[in-house]
């Protein structure tokens, strides 16, 4: 080994030593993560400081895993991927959507691998890739998005999607042997939306690789019973989004002040050792930085699980 090789090897050494094995954050046996939507004051999509800020936030919270929004990975906001039908009315939407598509089809996989490495170097992991699949995706785009999720190190997807799109995803989950967990809102009128037990059950019957990301706040706002649903379908639920909303389409509230049975759900998961991950999602109003509020949410869950 000459001097140049030795210097090169030494330059790489700190990274090798710094890299930690991703850990799992548990509180009394319950696994916790964060939905990165919770970090409201992040730099915009594509900003070079975005990923470092998410990593730093997770480290401060002491939470090892996350469900990361596509808008935090891709250099354009999630809205440009077509999920919100209202956003499609913008005159710029067709052009921007096509730009997003071309980016997805051309970006090298090293782009995703590099992001994964940055998380793993910090002892963190991306457990779920949150992509809101919809009919504006082409099959080529769906294919590349599954490849991207694998390169990010994600186990699967969490997706705010609809039943009609779920049907289109069946061959992709089979080919890639990768799950998609359907995330609900609380639109009870549109039968294509995930909002009720029946809508989830329809999707679960389509593929064994379809699962559930149960947002217990939205589920409660839609006047559903989160505890009963978890008891019945715990083996198909990957994670829950922990938030507190009032019933009857009521607003988000600080944990413990809404109608969502957060305490009952967390204890149910703990007492039955369900393999359901609990992901914090902060969305109530506050004047404080979002990181402080996510910490407050986490502290609430810890107190619940300590009793």
């Amino acid at each position: 080994m000459n001097r140049r090789d030795l210097l090169k090897a030494l330059a790489g050494a700190p990274l090798l030593f710094a890299r930690q094995r991703p850990t799992v954050t548990t509180v009394n046996g319950v696994v916790f993560g964060v939905e990165t939507f919770s970090f409201h004051d992040l730099p915009p999509s594509g900003d070079p400081q975005l990923i470092p800020t998410i990593i730093k936030s997770l480290q401060i919270l002491g939470i090892a895993e996350c469900e990361i929004m596509s808008g935090h990975i891709e250099p354009f906001a999630s809205v440009m991927t077509g999920w919100w039908v209202q956003s499609r009315r913008s005159p710029d939407f067709p052009r921007l959507r096509e730009e997003a598509r071309q980016w997805r089809l051309s970006v090298p996989m090293t782009y995703y691998r590099d992001i994964r490495r940055r998380f793993e170097d910090a002892g963190l992991r991306i457990y779920l890739y949150n992509v809101n699949f919809n009919e504006t995706f082409t099959d080529a785009e769906r294919e590349r998005t599954f490849e991207a999720a694998r390169e990010l190190g994600a186990e699967g997807f969490s997706s705010s999607t609809v039943l009609s799109e779920a049907r289109r995803l069946v061959p992709f989950v089979k080919t890639h042997n990768m799950f998609v967990a359907m995330h609900n809102h609380n639109n009870l009128v549109d039968p294509d939306q995930f909002a009720t037990p029946a809508s989830f059950e329809t999707a679960l019957a389509m593929s064994p690789l379809f699962h559930v990301t149960l947002d217990i706040g939205h589920f409660t706002a839609g006047n559903n019973d989160a505890v009963a649903f978890i008891r019945q379908h715990h083996d198909r639920i990957i994670n829950i989004h922990v938030r507190d909303r009032k019933r009857n389409n009521g607003p988000n509230r600080p944990f413990g002040q809404g109608d969502t049975p957060i305490a009952d759900v967390l204890r149910l998961i703990r007492n039955n050792r369900y393999s359901i991950r609990c992901y914090l999602e902060y969305e109530y109003g506050s004047f404080r930085p979002s990181l402080d509020e996510v910490q407050t949410c986490f502290d609430y869950c810890k107190r619940v699980l300590a009793s």
Binding site: H40, Q86, D190, Q193, N249, P251, E283, F287
Partner: protein, 226 residues
């Protein structure tokens, strides 16, 4: 100092504060996770309702960065027609449960909170519309004739002003940028505690919320030629 120089100095003294107040007030520094702090106690009450009910997550902390499919409230016709929450209040209380991602129902808000919220939304809208409409653009010059029609018709300008009396020679008094700024928002640029806006200012703020860019161009062309 000649009489003419003296007059010119007074005019300059009158214009300089107009030109300096605007940018400084737009660059207010004090802010928190809910956006910039409001300039009056009453508006800060409205901001509290707006932020603690997480309106800013979807509609943006200054109304200009709507996301998640939410309506852009700087362009909403409903907000433009609202008076102290008479349109905003019922919608906020009922929510929009049938949207793809529903807008929650805020049934617990009191009548006073609705008024505070609505006034804060109007304040944000006025700030945003002022920035948008006073921006110097490459838009084509306005149509004087259309400006006159607006002045005497939809704008109802004639109910308070006359181009033969108070607005006579206004095109020679102010340059185009100043004329546009005064037309869009007569002083003061932002509300101040203890100072109630005049009826004229209230009327101009209502217009400000509802002008189109063409209305402003046309009015500026019409008045600039006086």
């Amino acid at each position: 100092m000649t009489a003419m120089t003296s007059v010119r100095n007074y005019v300059l003294l009158a214009i300089v504060p107009i030109l300096t107040i605007g940018p400084r007030l737009d660059a207010r520094q004090e802010r928190d996770a809910g956006g910039f702090k409001a300039p009056t106690v009453a508006l800060e009450r409205g901001r509290t309702v707006y932020v603690l009910n997480h309106c800013h997550f979807c509609h943006g902390d200054d109304l200009t960065r709507a996301t998640m499919g939410a309506a852009n409230l700087t362009q909403s016709a409903l907000v433009g027609a609202d008076e102290d929450g008479n349109m905003i209040g019922p919608l906020v209380k009922a929510g929009l449960p049938n949207l793809q991602t529903a807008m929650p129902s805020y049934v617990e808000l009191t009548s006073a909170e609705i008024v505070d919220l609505a006034r804060y939304i109007h304040y944000l809208r006025q700030q945003a519309r002022f920035r948008e409409l006073s921006r110097v653009t490459n838009a084509p010059a306005g149509d004087r004739s259309a400006g006159e029609t607006y002045f005497n018709g939809a704008g109802k300008c004639r109910s308070c002003h006359s181009v033969a009396v108070d607005l006579a020679d206004i095109g020679r008094k102010y340059d185009t940028a100043t004329l546009r700024a005064r037309m869009l928002r007569p002083r003061p640029n932002v509300p101040t505690d203890g100072v109630s806006p005049t009826d004229g200012q209230v009327a101009h703020l209502k217009l400000l919320e509802n002008y189109t860019a063409a209305d402003v161009q046309n009015l500026a062309a019409y008045l600039g030629a006086r």
